[in-house]
Subunit: 365 residues, 2 copies
């Protein structure tokens, strides 16, 4: 499949919003024992659950290393397609292709450079060369051409689009030292707008407290539909999350989107702080160069990290009283979708959640 030297905007392609129709969902099978406790077995069980739920609504492709292929095929339901794909970890939202479409329903991929959330500055593991090939391999599988950006670092979880010209990011992530620190904010905006085919970038200052991705927007804020967002929130002024959510709320209240609309903001209360237990910490291999999982560390738990698919919302829940509130809020915001809560502590322990482990393939012709 071709590697293109033009840009999606030049060619009339745009990134559709996640809530637009999908052709399917990609996921990568978790296995690395220095990130997933107990050899990845508890995480694999939850990934099976996520794939099984999503697979009821749209085709799911699970990407699996050579060594885990037979195990994954054995554990997953028949209706999930299992393909071999080497990887360094299982965050396809971040290392996978960002798909774009044109008005004729043709699909292409955007293949950003991936550097494990900060490269040699504050990346989370080394090396990341197999992850950086995932986007191209997805495009090859789908027989679509791709745009490769060799000198622009981005993860899919650090952007959200409304499909109508607006992209939402955080300053914490997109201006971080470990990514495109040689570029100005304006230069970064230009790349985003060219490759997502947007006209306006919304810059939320910070993401979720202690989020190892340098505050990805997909854990903090999401578009429900054009003009409507959900924002991670806490009413506890003593929680370090409070100031982050408050400044985001104030920022979002003050801006308009690409179409000139003021945003309708819905708050989604985060769960009580979720800490790594001693047992959980002990299940993870210690490896130089990989972020350790230490007892008592606070994880970046947020309901905003849900995944929107054809007729459903796959929502992470934590066994917290706020679970029910999140379900209720999303039921109201998405009256036409089934809310599918999935107990996702094991994904959170790996450093992300359901949105981080999924990547949509938009419906084409």
């Amino acid at each position: 499949m071709k590697r293109l030297n033009t840009t999606p905007k030049q060619d009339g392609f745009r990134m559709p919003a996640e809530f637009e129709k999908h052709a399917g969902t990609y996921i990568i099978w978790p296995e690395r024992p220095d990130n997933w406790r107990l050899g990845g077995k508890p995480a694999q069980e939850v990934f099976v659950k996520v794939a099984s739920v999503i697979g009821k609504y749209e085709p799911v492709t699970m990407c699996v290393s050579r060594g885990q292929y037979s195990n994954a095929r054995h554990l997953l339901p028949d209706y999930v397609r299992v393909v071999e794909m080497s990887n360094d970890d299982s965050w396809i939202r971040d290392c996978g292709a960002t798909f774009v479409v044109n008005d004729q329903g043709e699909v292409r991929g955007v293949d950003w450079t991936f550097n494990a959330w900060g490269g040699l500055v504050d990346g989370l593991y080394f090396p990341w060369d197999q992850d950086d090939k995932i986007a191209q391999k997805m495009c090859e599988l789908e027989r679509v051409d791709s745009y490769r950006l060799d000198d622009f670092i981005l993860e899919g979880g650090s952007i959200h689009v409304d499909g109508e010209g607006t992209v939402m990011v955080t300053e914490e992530c997109l201006l971080s030292e470990g990514r495109n620190s040689k570029m100005s904010r304006e230069e970064i905006e230009k790349v985003l707008c060219e490759y997502l085919n947007c006209e306006k970038v919304l810059w939320i200052p910070n993401g979720i407290y202690n989020d190892e991705t340098n505050g990805h927007v997909d854990n903090m804020c999401n578009f429900v539909r054009p003009g409507v967002v959900v924002l991670a929130w806490t009413d506890d002024e003593n929680d370090p999350q409070y100031a982050r959510s408050k400044e985001a709320y104030e920022y979002l209240s003050s801006v308009t989107d690409a179409k000139g609309r003021k945003l309708e903001i819905h708050k989604l209360l985060v769960p009580s702080p979720v800490l790594i237990t001693k047992e959980e910490s002990l299940g993870v291999d210690s490896v130089d160069g990989t972020l350790p999982r230490e007892e008592g560390d606070r994880m970046a738990a947020s309901y905003v990290n849900y995944y929107t698919g054809n007729g459903f919302i796959a929502l992470p829940v934590f066994g917290d009283p706020n679970d029910e509130l999140a379900i209720k809020t999303l039921k109201e915001l998405y009256p036409d979708r089934v809310i599918e809560p999935i107990y996702a502590r094991e994904i959170l322990l790996g450093g992300g959640n359901i949105h981080c482990i999924t990547q949509q393939l938009p419906a084409g012709k």
Copy 2:
């Protein structure tokens, strides 16, 4: 995708003839240095040529190991799809899925057990576990269900079907000690007929002289169309090939196919004996358990190992005076297809030829 416990015959599926319409062609990228000289580079060049030619007529998928992925993607034309797939070598005719179709155009795969042409008796390398997973991975990629035979060993190159109830094999291969030697000829016939949906098995005694596959039929004889075959031939009575071709001719002259037709037999003269040179031999790594490539060894060169696709014949040629004769014969036999001769000595050096490195996906709905 499902693993089925029924048989294609029970379910109304049959293996179409190779000359029926394809949805595409699968190939595996060559690399193992104990089979392909000079680290596989000369072979890779020819595989690129084969994929490029076939890709002009139908979609080609190249299956490539993790380590060779980038190199293969770089060397192949854009219109060839490159997917990651671990392998032990590059003979997808033999380790790949045999696809079957039903009258509604649904496609399924037959996943025979593969043991590297004879397992621990006279197999050509060890281990072969990755090759044995290729068929399932092809079925997963294509989202088709499959029939797995855990206790029947077969390579796709050891069968040819006419699509109308006849399957052609050699006794040399199918009755070999390293495959299903615990089964009787009748038991083997029953499995072939159930899984290919055939009524009659034609048993040619032997294949090409010195063919390391134990005389695969696909190097010896092929169906041009129902009722018409080409047979590898030599007029040199001193060539050990002579007796083999003669007995095959006599056998084929004496039988009828599943529809009761006598066979029309066309002879395809083999090239003069093709021997491994010293330089070629020296380029191959020596590894215990892998068949060595020794100077002076005669290779199983035959024009019958051509591949029939949508509107074309990919024909191996050897720089031999008989090349032109083979081209002429096939032009007459296939007036509606373009004959595409490809100089294929480098594939032959690895132990097979163009038919051995290709596997068709039949057109479905």
